[in-house]
Assembly symmetry: C2
Homo-oligomer: 459 residues x 2
């Protein structure tokens, strides 16, 4: 790396906040996706001003900057595919304000989701999106990817809770968007232009979040189905029943058998297992909703229906679902976790289509996910050292995206486009929408220095 550039960077962030060590850069080359590329250097900033200076420098020198939180992204958005500088935001990790009366929390981007959860818990409040990576992922990353999770069907995703942002633009100017008020329709919705933009338009340095009181009661139940159609019908009927479960999860046969092979949970090896939670403030409320769900389960030929009666039983019912990703990730040397999402009426077709793709390419695909909002996680398991399997994984992925789009769905319900899904963007978006996204990128970041190479924005 050019010494003059290095010195200019060090002058901004300080010697202690700069690394060019190969061992550090190897770590910064990858995130939780299958992509890797080494940056020139990495810096840890501590202030908005440092970031503004850094952006001015990068813009002048045309050096790419890739922002990074915890690196838990599954689509490669934190991978510095064009080299340049990794901007590690994990040290900007202060909760700046919690105001329960105002229903807001103001945080820096490096605050971990779980840290905010812990800070809100004494007040009985929570930040609902609940991404599966919440124990390690940062709120800045959650905002950059518009993260979602188990509670999406009832509570929405990160986007629905971001009231305002402070953003450093690619030219180093600092901007505030949105409001600290619960509602604002003042001017264009700049906030949501940045939510989900994967660090390609600006660096978020402060986030104002809406927070919710946490419902104090839940009911939990599980049902197993020998037949995929029955499970699909049950899902549709639940959504038709007038309630929204706070969670409605599905585990497919491949996932169940993988869990059985790797844990002592001894699950029944069925086509589909559905796990449902209802919530509220009273037992009457959660039971009322759960009775509807159980009634629907029973009308659709379940193999078994189990309602949790104790905290321990609740934990047992969730154990299988919670183990899924980790168990599946250990089966082969490599795996890719997708997050295709379709309208709920197409879930059965999606599940069957995934089975067909698995057969066609002779590759193992285990599926679980959020049936309540049509968001499935087919996890493709393969040997990353076998070029033939890598090739088949890629073909299976491509088929999967085509399948989802053909079913009126989307490439990604919660992981984002990044590198992994960039080649498929034009499958989902028409040429005018693609042009609009590219125009926005060019307008806001004319030198293409912010997280370049992502989201098919250069086409």
């Amino acid at each position: 790396m050019d010494e003059k550039l290095k010195q200019a960077i060090v002058d901004i962030v300080g010697e202690d906040h700069y690394t060019g060590n190969i061992i550090d850069l190897v770590s910064y080359a990858c995130d939780a996706s299958e992509h890797c590329n080494r940056p020139l250097c990495a810096v840890f900033t501590e202030t908005t001003e440092q970031i503004a200076e850094l952006m001015k420098l990068a813009n002048l020198e045309k050096v790419p900057i890739t922002p990074r939180g915890a690196g838990t992204g599954l689509s490669g958005m934190a991978v510095p595919i064009r080299g340049g500088i990794i901007l590690d935001l994990s040290r900007m990790n202060k909760i700046l304000k919690i105001s329960i009366e105002d229903r807001i929390a103001v945080v820096q981007p490096g605050v971990i989701y779980a840290t905010l959860e812990k800070a809100l818990a004494p007040y009985g409040f929570f930040f609902p999106p609940d991404p599966a990576s919440g124990k390690v992922s940062t709120l800045g990353g959650n905002v950059a990817t518009n993260a979602g999770g188990l509670k999406g069907a009832k509570y929405g995703t990160t986007r629905d809770y971001v009231l305002g942002l402070q953003v450093v633009l690619p030219d180093g100017r600092v901007m505030r968007t949105g409001s600290k008020a619960m509602k604002s329709v003042s001017g264009y919705d700049l906030t949501r232009l940045f939510v989900g933009s994967e660090g390609t338009l600006g660096i978020v340095t402060e986030i104002t979040l809406k927070i919710n009181p946490r419902p104090t009661a839940t009911s939990t139940a599980l049902a197993t189905f020998d037949n995929l159609e029955d499970a699909g019908l049950a899902i549709n009927q639940i959504m038709h029943s007038g309630i929204i479960p706070s969670a409605l999860e599905i585990l497919g046969r491949e996932t169940i058998s993988a869990i059985n092979q790797n844990t002592d949970l001894n699950l029944p090896e069925v086509d589909a297992m559905l796990l449902v939670e209802t919530d509220g403030y009273t037992e009457a409320e959660t039971s009322f909703q759960m009775e509807k769900v159980i009634g629907i389960f029973k009308a659709n030929h379940p193999q078994e229906v189990k309602e949790a009666k104790t905290e321990a039983e609740v934990k047992d019912l969730w154990a299988a679902r919670k183990s899924a990703y980790a168990v599946l990730s250990r089966i082969k040397t490599s795996s890719v976790l997708e997050d295709v999402t379709v309208p709920m009426t197409h879930i059965t077709e999606l599940l069957k289509g995934i089975q067909n793709i698995s057969l066609k390419h002779q590759i193992q695909i285990a599926t679980f996910g959020h049936a309540g909002d049509g968001n499935l996680h087919p996890q493709i398991l393969y040997d990353g050292y076998d070029p033939d399997q890598v090739e088949r994984m890629k073909k299976a992925s491509a088929d999967l995206f085509e399948l989802a789009i053909g079913l009126d769905g989307t490439l990604t319900g919660e992981h984002g486009i990044g590198l992994s899904k960039a080649p498929f963007m034009t499958l989902e978006h028409d040429p005018v929408a693609m042009d609009m996204m590219r125009t926005l990128k060019r307008t806001i970041d004319p030198n293409n220095i912010l997280n370049p190479g992502k989201m098919a924005l250069e086409g």
Copy 2:
């Protein structure tokens, strides 16, 4: 109007869908705000293709186009302040699809909010934003202004329910945004760039909405307070109590006495009346929440607390709130309804500040609004034929905006910027944010043909 241009417009929309009649154009000159300006002509389109052709023509000829739904906007966004063409979308009023299992409704922009409500009711579903104008306002207008209403604190605003759009851009290209799936993070959030953009970036020709099952139980109560501080404390404590009421409304003293002077409701003349609704699926759930609220009311020196026991009593309690705007609008020849919004902890200060502004400018201001999300409606009553009163109304408005921004609030919680608040945009938004909005407008509508003169986008 130029005959050649007129003929070109008629060729696109047809003779029957064009009007240049002065009597029609007088109606099209105004909306529900205090602004008026006559257009050159008005057209009713019936297809996206017609709109695309019209946009191409207008872009070529540099003629302004102002889209219009029901014209219920309170900030002048449907007023053709630069003349040109009114594009009346009210005849594009088809509900294209309702899929309860998929939780979506697909509608044309001219569908009236209440029409969709009626269509969803048999399924027990609803579209939650519930704007006060819902009986007449169109969903296209709701999207253009990101409309909100009584249920905002619990259910959010229009923005939270728009999954996707079809939009005609200023150059006539047609674009689809978003997805029919419940969740998507595929590319930039183009959908929300257009929601709340007040018809300045594109013409929305199709809307895909997320719909919700309607809670089947409610509890309703009312409390009156002799002292504003007590009411303010009660509001804060409710938001701190771990529940979110489905409505929490406030009526101020001026509003109560105006209602008494113009109806036979005989309300107690107090500083503040709070009206609260809790909802759920069971009586246990709504009562549990209402008990918390009542407890808080009682701890804050109410003059009276009343719980509705029957449907008739519920109606009685709501009568005062529902009559407010209409009653106040009849007191003087003119009135302006504002919608400043502040963090909930500042509601008492906002209410007191409004009283001071009323005294300072010797002008009547009656306040009511959505205390649950900090969104108040000070309604300034004045004689529109008295230039001195008009002047004092303008000064009071300006003071009101300064007050709200000084309390960390926003100019507008639900009505939008339009013409009325355009001069105050820079009070709320920093120069970088203003520049970003203007850059977006210039990029997407370089000839400034779409609803020009609004939102301070030309500064």
